[in-house]
């Protein structure tokens, strides 16, 4: 570990400790907002784990989230909550493996289309199974976990996502993804199993998203397909992550924090205009902020540095 990495780790740990204490000092509206923020930070970072290096826009977030939620709903009478979060992760990974194996071998556009309807598809299947096979529409998740507990669980998960992301970056898988991102043909010709690497990464990302869904299950109390598989979530994640920038794992952070506040304000005050504003936000990201806020900042810094080095050489 280098010195700067150590420093980053220390700062991050201190920030997490401070945030973990937060639920004791605030409650109500701000705590709910904090949970929402943590929720989307976890989702967007897990999303970026896969979609950042592969440039494949995944719209499967809501499907994985719902799978995690349902894992808890099904098992809450039998197993303790923390264990169910892990079960949700495993279910998410397995689901990602199935979807990835079917779609990641062919062109990227097909993957996007497939994930686009995945939440709706899973919702239909779950609704069908519940009504026709099990005979009830929803499931109860009654726990004594309050918003503060959910917040701490989410913080722990965010830390885990960053840690895993950092480890992948240092491992062969991360290096393979960089090679694939540069030239898939070269990657293939030097022994990289391109499809398999993508599927593994998709599984990691899907597992984390499902775990977020599992953690959030107690908030809903009554789980039914319509609320667990909410396609809007998939789009919100894409737009927040892209707004922040997906070149760095921490890029989405920059997008989530302001966007959650704005989205909260809009859905409270102009609920009918929500889709219009999401649409405009998508267009703004594509046309104005191609690499997100962090990308734009890095580019500006790079330009200044280059300018500085040019003038430096001029003087020498």
């Amino acid at each position: 570990m280098t010195r700067s990495e150590g420093l980053t780790l220390f700062t991050a740990a201190a920030a997490f400790a401070a945030l973990a204490a937060l639920p004791f000092v605030t409650e109500g509206f701000y705590l709910t907002l904090a949970v929402n923020m943590a929720l989307y930070i976890a989702l967007c970072t897990a999303w970026t784990l896969f979609s950042g290096p592969t440039h494949l826009v995944s719209l499967a977030t809501a499907a994985f989230f719902g799978i995690g939620t349902y894992s808890v709903a099904i098992g809450i009478e039998i197993l303790p909550f923390p264990l169910l979060i892990l079960c949700g992760g495993v279910a998410g990974a397995l689901f990602a493996a199935l979807v990835g194996a079917a779609t990641l071998r062919v062109s990227g556009a097909y993957f996007v289309i497939f994930t686009l309807g995945l939440a709706e598809l899973t919702r239909q299947v779950v609704a069908y199974l519940q009504t026709k096979v099990f005979g009830s529409m929803g499931l109860f998740v009654l726990t004594d976990h309050g918003e503060g507990d959910l917040f701490r669980y989410l913080l722990g998960l965010i830390a885990a996502i960053f840690l895993v992301g950092w480890l992948i970056g240092r491992a062969r898988l991360g290096f393979a993804m960089r090679v694939i991102g540069n030239d898939e043909v070269v990657a293939r010709h030097f022994g990289i199993e391109v499809a398999r690497s993508k599927v593994i990464l998709f599984m990691v990302s899907g597992a984390f998203i499902a775990m977020v869904g599992a953690i959030m299950a107690p908030r809903y109390a009554y789980i039914e397909p319509q609320s667990a598989f909410n396609p809007t979530m998939s789009f919100l994640v894409v737009i927040m992550a892209l707004l922040g920038g997906t070149r760095r794992l921490w890029g989405p952070l920059v997008g989530v924090v302001p966007f959650t506040i704005v989205a909260d304000f809009i859905s409270a005050n102009f609920p009918d205009h929500f889709n219009v504003i999401i649409g405009l936000a998508f267009l703004a990201v594509v046309y104005l902020l191609k690499d997100g806020v962090t990308g734009a900042i890095e580019q500006a810094l790079g330009r200044r540095r280059r300018a500085a080095s040019v003038t430096g050489e001029g003087r020498a």
């Binding site: 062969r172 290096f175 393979a176 960089r178 090679v179 991102g181 540069n182 030239d183 043909v185 070269v186 990657a187 293939r188 010709h189 030097f190 022994g191 990289i192 199993e193 391109v194």
Partner: protein, 241 residues
Amino acid sequence: MSGPILEVASLSKAFGGLVAVNDVSFALAEGELLGLIGPNGSGKTTTMNLVSGALAPTAGEIRLDGAPISGLSPSVISRAGVARTFQLVRVLPGMTAVENVVAGAVFSRAGLWGVAAEATARRLLGRVGLEERAELPLSAMTYIDQKRVELARALAADPRVLLLDEWLAGLNPTELQTAIELLKEIHADGMTIIMVEHVMDAIRSLCDRCVVMNTGAKIAEGDTAAVLADPHVMAAYLGDE
């Protein structure tokens, strides 16, 4: 006495109605440097793509040290021990020279990682004369230097057979001389090589043996000097009259 390291038997590849490679057979002994020559469009690069797994053959078989590799994916073939350079140079533009060469060593037959991979990469970059530019991103390198990185990357894979697809094309006379010397050294160290090439001087001074292709079929094979003097080969290059 072991068998040939690479064997190509009755290999054919058709794209729809166009037969690009038609019933081609040849074999390569360990440590040999074989020239694969012929006019443009004669099927040389397609043959290379079949050996490296970029394409799957329509018929025929390719064996590496006795084991069939035809139709396998390029990644599997790479781990079996075939490495290549590309006709139109393919580098990883967003990565440094060292990282480019490390990329050759990690997942291929070499299977190196970490310190060992980086040491190999630096040694090979030294070998192709790029030790001072090891930290440069490839997008900032000249065409010639990119070609050198490609060769170092292929060597880093520790291949049993190295495929060079017009690696000497586009070099000026001085660079060409250096490059020929470099290939001679690599060959002298025992590397088995197939080179697709148009530069006749290089073929004469490097290749032990040549296979000549024309319109998809093999038209001659043998000692380089004898093959180049063959009237059929001259006709193929210069036209029938």
